[in-house]
């Protein structure tokens, strides 16, 4: 049996399940908040063009608008200044094979529940490897915080000094890059922590990942449904000319018993 035939059979039998890690595109879903004198991330907008009515008697369709970084989305290397010169660093030029890879899920949900400003440190990575084995090169590393269960104002958790949400430290990202990861994903609005503007470098996940030609996934939903290892993640962005990112439908293939 070929590999794909085996996969198809496993999907058909339910031995391999498809887990959807995507938030619904919804005008009410938060986007990153920047100081108002900066350009802002447009929220998702949907307008009915027709609905089996005088505007189109037999069909219904919508017009949608959003930013590349609205909702569950992909960050390409060219999104950040550090990745501006990465070859094939935009979504339309990235080798499509790069969108599919194994997922390592680091569970930080207890820590994030205790401390909204929790930072993933190299020690946490090492502790995870001690239990689950080394993170293979080419992995999607996903930081599970259960943050996607939050909604409304609790999601950004904004205060007078900015947002408070968990994320990786610069050292953790460097440690992951040293392992040759494919990209890093979070359940929060960005790959960086809410307070990451004050880190050194600022927004280290963005800065370091994209500078190294790696990808970011954010606003993932329900990482608790993935095993620590063994899942395969499919995160293919829209093929936007020179695109720095794209809304995603993120799918994980999870084998029974994992």
């Amino acid at each position: 049996m070929s590999a794909l035939a085996g996969l198809v059979a496993a999907l058909a039998s339910g031995r391999v399940k498809v887990v959807d890690l995507t938030h619904r595109l919804d005008p009410d879903f938060p986007v990153i908040v920047l100081p108002p004198e900066f350009g802002q991330c447009a929220r998702f907008r949907i307008e009915e063009v027709s609905a089996y009515d005088h505007r189109g008697p037999a069909w219904k369709w919508h017009e949608i608008t959003m930013n590349e970084h609205t909702g569950t989305h992909f960050d390409a290397p060219c999104h950040w200044i550090s990745g501006r010169d990465v070859p094939a660093g935009s979504v339309d030029e990235i080798d499509p094979a790069a969108f599919i890879g194994p997922a390592c899920v680091i569970d930080c949900s207890a820590e994030a529940a205790a401390d909204p400003d929790f930072l993933l440190q190299p020690a946490h990575v090492e502790a995870w490897e001690a239990r689950h084995g080394p993170i293979p090169a080419g992995s999607w590393v996903l930081m599970r915080t259960d943050w996607s269960r939050r909604s409304g104002a609790a999601y950004l958790n904004m205060a007078g000094d900015g947002a408070h949400s968990p994320g990786p430290s610069a050292a953790a990202i460097e440690a992951l890059l040293a392992r040759g990861i494919r990209g890093f994903g979070t359940e929060t609005v960005g790959t960086d922590a809410g307070q990451a503007a004050h880190f050194d470098p600022p927004f280290p996940a963005h800065y370091l990942l994209h500078g190294a030609g790696r990808f970011g996934l954010q606003c993932l939903k329900g990482l608790d449904r993935l095993p620590p290892t063994g899942a395969v993640l499919i995160a293919a962005p829209l093929k936007i000319r020179g695109g720095t990112g794209s809304p995603l439908r993120v799918l994980a293939l999870v084998e029974e018993g994992q």
Partner: protein, 414 residues
């Protein structure tokens, strides 16, 4: 003495909501000069530029010297009621619903005699203060008010029919995040508004102004005018209860036309022009249908606009263009609302003393002043309110010569 207006009872769900009717709307072109004056709450009549005779009714030539140079000018509003009548029979559907209706002949200190609506506190022989107001047809009419204010005088039925007083009415303040929103909510509640709902976009951002709004007596409701869905949800929940809309949303970013930012510009248009249209489409029809719904009939749609809607400050060119678009929308809205009698009031403000005008020199408008003018405009039933020294200055210069003003604003003057 005017009876204080009692709050309306809850609506009997078995009763049909009355369809609005309008007083006679036809006017000659000359007579529309009174409408223009009333729209700004000014008592003005035609004066002959050659012989000084004051003319009424409006006409095209002076009855004193046949000059055709008649100009509308503000005049002393005093007068005396020579005669009065209470009309008990009228073939006009609007007045039939309101009989008996009192009118009088008033001899103006300025000269002519006028037939005018009579405030309940004036009678034959009384000295009165004339005011030009817009009626439900949107046309200028004269009303004789008591010479000095009387208790609850704004509750007089004849006067209330000409105004959009907030008393017992429910107001939607579109943008609760606006810096002036708490002051406006406070002023509206102080004027007797039964409820003020303050819209809040992007509740997930949090809103530090919530406490101030609550203290001002406003309830926060989710509303994002750039999102059709959000607008539709608000209209579904509150559409049948909103009597006055105050469109105070504002998206101001510095930037001229050439040096401006395309996304800011689009956002500005999305808020000011498209947002206004979205909200009007969602709320307008229900308001129009409720324009004769008793004490708290839907009454007014207020747009708080920058005076740059008339003439841009090029340093804010993109914003000014969005404001001009909003002004155009507001004017069309007047046409859309005409048959219902809903008043569309544009409150033109100069620079407001907020963060976005922080580097601008004074005079700048305080939130309290804006709120005061908002309530005054509603109480007068005005269509155009010029708020603050800058707005009044621009209005004057614009009326005198828009081209001269344009050159001055674009750096050609002193």
């Amino acid at each position: 003495m005017t009876e204080p207006l009692a709050p309306p009872p809850r609506k009997d769900p078995r009763r049909r909501t009355r369809v609005p009717t309008l007083p006679p709307a036809a006017r000659s072109r000359a007579a529309l000069g009174l409408t223009a004056a009333a729209a700004e709450g000014r008592f003005a009549l035609q004066v002959c530029a050659e012989c000084g005779a004051v003319a009424w009714p409006p006409r095209d030539a002076c009855a004193g010297c046949l000059s055709v140079q008649l100009v509308w000018r503000e005049l002393p509003p005093g007068g005396e009621v020579l005669a009065e009548t209470a009309i008990h029979a009228s073939p006009d559907p609007y007045f039939r619903e309101r009989l008996p209706w009192r009118v009088g002949t008033v001899r103006l200190d300025a000269g002519p005699s006028v037939i005018a609506h009579l405030h309940g506190d004036v009678a034959r022989g009384a000295r009165v203060r004339m005011a030009a107001r817009l009626d439900r047809a949107g046309q200028g009419v004269l009303i004789a008010l008591p010479e000095k204010d009387t208790p609850h005088m704004e509750d007089d039925p004849a006067l209330r029919a000409l105004t959009c007083h907030p008393r017992h009415r429910r107001v939607l303040l579109v943008d609760g995040r606006d810096a002036a929103a708490p002051a406006m909510a406070r002023a509206l509640r102080a004027a007797g508004a039964a409820a003020v709902w303050a819209g809040e976009a992007e509740g997930w951002r949090g809103n530090p102004a919530r406490a101030a709004l609550a203290e001002a007596g406003a309830a926060v409701v989710p509303l994002d005018i750039t999102d059709s869905d959000s607008v539709a949800r608000l209209a579904g929940e509150y559409g049948g209860r909103i009597d006055i809309v105050v469109f105070n949303a504002r998206h101001l970013r510095p930037g001229g036309v050439m040096a401006g930012n395309g996304i800011y510009t689009r956002e500005a248009f999305d808020v000011h022009a498209l947002g206004l249209m979205r909200l009007a489409r969602a709320l307008g029809p229900a308001m129009a249908a409720r324009a004769a719904d008793g004490v708290n009939a839907a009454a007014a749609w207020v747009n708080i606009l920058s005076v740059w809607a008339l003439i841009p400050d090029p340093a804010f060119g993109a914003f000014a263009a969005a404001q001009a678009a909003a002004l155009s929308v507001a004017r069309s809205l007047r046409g859309d609302f005409r048959a219902s009698g809903i008043r569309v009031m544009n409150l033109f403000a100069g620079p407001i003393d907020d963060e976005w005008h922080q580097p601008l020199p004074p005079p700048k408008l305080a939130a309290e002043a804006l709120a005061r003018e908002l309530v005054r405009g509603l109480a007068e039933g005005a269509e155009e309110v010029w708020c603050g020294d800058v707005a009044r200055d621009i209005r004057e210069r614009w009326a005198r010569d828009p081209k001269v003003l344009e050159r001055e604003m674009t750096g050609g003057g002193r």
